[in-house]
C-alpha cells in the first residue's frame, strides 16, 4: 500500500475541504460517456469525475481515487468496481468519521 500519497475518504460534501489533494469516493454511476462520469456521492450529491477514464465497464457503484478539483468534481487517477449493491449509508458514516473525530487514525 502506498502510504506516501494517501487518499482521504470523502463524500460529496467533504470534497471541497480537500481541493488539490488526493481523495477517494464511492459513487453511484448515473451517466458515463467519453467526457466523464456523472454520479451520486454517498451523501446524495451529484459529482462529476473527469481525468483518466475507466478502461472497463463500470458497475453500479465505483470507487474513484483522484484529485479533488473543487466542489463536486474529481480528476480521476484510478477506478475500482464496487459491484451493484453497496451500503452507501455506512460508507458515508465512514467518511464523516475519517474527517472528524477520528481523523488522526487515517493516513
Amino acid at each position: 500500500m502506498d502510504t506516501s500519497n494517501p487518499a482521504v475518504f470523502v463524500n460529496g460534501e467533504l470534497l471541497h475541504m480537500h481541493v488539490g489533494r488526493r481523495v477517494r469516493a464511492v459513487i453511484q454511476v448515473i451517466q458515463s460517456d467519453n467526457v466523464g462520469v456523472t454520479g451520486k456521492s454517498t451523501d446524495g450529491l451529484q459529482v462529476v469525475v473527469k481525468g483518466i477514464l475507466p478502461s472497463f465497464a463500470l458497475t453500479n457503484f465505483v470507487e474513484v481515487i483522484g484529485i479533488s478539483d473543487g466542489d463536486r468534481s474529481i480528476r480521476a487517477e484510478m477506478w475500482n468496481n464496487f459491484g451493484n449493491t453497496f451500503d452507501t449509508d455506512n460508507y458515508n458514516q465512514l467518511c464523516k468519521l475519517a474527517n472528524g473525530e477520528f481523523k488522526h487514525l487515517f493516513i
Partner: protein, 669 residues
Amino acid sequence: MPVNLTPNAIAAINGGDVNSKPLVQVMDIKLIGSTQERYRFLISDSVSTQHAMLATQLNDRVKSGRVKKGSVVQLIDYICSTVQNRKIIVVLNMETIILDCEPIGNPKMFTESESTTQKATPNSNIEHPVRVNNYNTPIRGSFNPQNPGTFNTQNPGSFSNQNPGSFTTSNSGTFRASNPSTFWAPNSGNNVQGFRPTVQPPYQPPPNYRNHGPILKNEAPARIIPIAALNPYQGRWAIKARVTAKGDLRRYNNARGDGKVFSFDLLDSDGGEIRVTCFNAVVDRFYDIIEVGRVYLISKGSLKPAQKNFNHLKNEWEIFLEATSTVDLCPEEDASIPRQQFSFRPISEIENAENNSILDVIGIVISVNPSVPILRKNGMETQRRILNLKDTSGKSVELTLWGDFCNKEGQKLQEMVDVGFFPVLAVKAGKVNDFNGKTIGTISSTQLFINPDFPEARDLREWFDQGGKNAATVSITREIMAGGSKNEIRKTVSQIKSEGLGRAEKPDWVTVRAFITFIKSDNFCYTACPLMIGDRQCNKKVTQAGNRWQCDRCNQEFDECDYRYLLQAQIQDQTGLTWVTAFQESGEEILGCPAKELYMLKYELQDDIRFGEIIRSRVFNQYLFRLKIKEELYGDEQRVKITVIKAEQLNYSSESRYLLDLISKSQRK
C-alpha cells in the same frame, strides 16, 4: 411543656364530629392486619380513650417515628364508623404537635354508656343534632314540604322519647326549616357549638328506639366522602367520581362456573382513584349506565383488597358493586373532578423502572412502524405496532402497541408522522418491559391520548418545536441489529474465558463474530432415530443390528436411519481461538449441506476430493455465531461447553452498521 388536650374530643368524634380538629394523645400504637399493614392507635383526650385506625397512607409516619407512643397529635381528617357495633375512629390525616409527651390525665376507655351527647357539650341546650324519624312515613323524602304537619302533629311524643331532656318545645319549630331531604334537625340557628350542618359524618348511628313501633333502617342518604377515605370498616358511604376508564365485558370460566365481569376506574375531586368491579347480574344493571368521562354518585358496595396484578390504581381497595348498590349519573358537569389523573415519569427514569411496573409517560412520537401480525402463544393472532417516543429528558423509548391500539390510535399516529407532524402522545398505564433494554407496552387498561390539552403536553410541544426536535436522544431500548438477534450480547472469543462465561447457574447466551479455522472431518455426524415422538423427532443415537437400525428409546427397528451433525470445530477472532460444537441445524448452516449428503459422499461414494473441497470451502469464512455457553461435568472434570445455536454468514453491511453504532455509543461516554 403543659398541653391541654381537646376536652371531650373522643365523645364528640363518636357523636359525629369531623370538623373540630382536636388535640389528642396517642397512648398506644399497635400493628394489626394480616394482608394489609395497618396501625391502630389508642387515643386519649385526657378523660377517655378509644381505638383509632390509621389510614394506611399514614403508616409511614409511624414507621419513620414521626408519631409514637405518647405523641400529642392533631386529628385533621377523621371519621367515626361503626363496625360490628363497635365504634372505630378512622384517622385519615393528622399532624404531630409534640412528639414525646408524658401521659396526660388518667383517661378511661370510652364506652357507649357514657353516651355521646350529654357529655360532649354539657353546657348547651341541644348538644347533638337530633335524629328525627317519622314512623308513619319511614322512607326518605316522605318528610316533604307539602306535608310538614305530619311531623309535628302525628308523632309529637317521639321527639321527647328519643332524646329526653335535650329537646325543648321552644325550638321545635326549627324542624320545619330543616332540609327535608335529610332527617337532621338543624342546629346552626340555636347557638349551639359543635357541628356545622354542612359537615356531617358519613354515617349517623341509628337512635336508640325505646318507644314502640317498628324499627326502621336509617334511610338517610350516605354522605359523600373522598375516595381516599373509603375503607371496609365503614357501613355506609357515597362517593362522587368521574369514570376515567371502562373495561370491556369479559366472560370467564373457572371452577365455580361461568360468569361475566367488568370493571371501571373512578377519580374524584381530591384525586383519589379506585377500581369498581361488577360480576354477573350486577354487570347487567350497570354496564350500560357507565360512560367514560361522566360523573356518578355511587353508594353501597363492598370494599375488598385491590388485586394488584390487575389493578394498578393507587388504592389498596377495590369496590365490588352488589345488587343493592346505587350508581346515579350526575347530570351536571363537576369541573372540580379532573378528567384524568396522570403521574408522568420522564423517559430517563423509566430506564431504572422495575420490570412489569405500570406507569404514565408522555412524549413526542418520532417514528411509527407499520402494524404487523403476531402469533400469540395461545395460537391467536394479534397486531403489534412499534413506535418511538422522546421527551425533554434526552431519552427515547420504544412503545409497543398491541391489538386494537394498532389500528385505532396507531393508524392515526402513523398518518400524522407520515406527513411530518410529530404528535404528543400521553400514555396512561403503560407496562414496562425489560426484555430488550427498556420498552413500554400497552395493556388492556392502557389509555392513549393524542395531542391532549394539558400543561405537560403543551410544554413538551413547545420544547420540541423550539429545538427539541433536533436534540440528540439516547434510546433506552436496545436497537434491533439487522441480522443479529434482538437482545444479543456481543463478546469476543477471549472474553468467554476471561469473563468466566457459563459458570453461572444458567447458561450464557452470547454472539461472537469469528472465523471458522478448523472443522473436524471424521465423526462429524451420528446415526439418529427418525421416528416421531409427539411432534418431535426422536433423534436418539441408533445402533446397527444386522441390516437394520435399532433405537433403544423407541424400542423399534427400521431400515434407514437419519444422519445428524455433531460437528466439532474451532472458531477464531482477533482475540483468540476456541472449540465449539454444532448440532444439526447449525451444523448445516456451517457446512451448507445436510449431514446425510456429506456422510454419503465420504463413506458411501468415498469421494474424498469432493468432501475435502466442501470442508475447505467453509473454513476461513467469517460468521456471526450465537453461542450457548455452559460449564458441564464430564466424569469428574468441569468443562465449559460451547454450543453453536446459530451460525450466519457475516453480513458486512449490517455488521458495519453495528460497528458504527458502537463507535457513536463509545463517543457519547
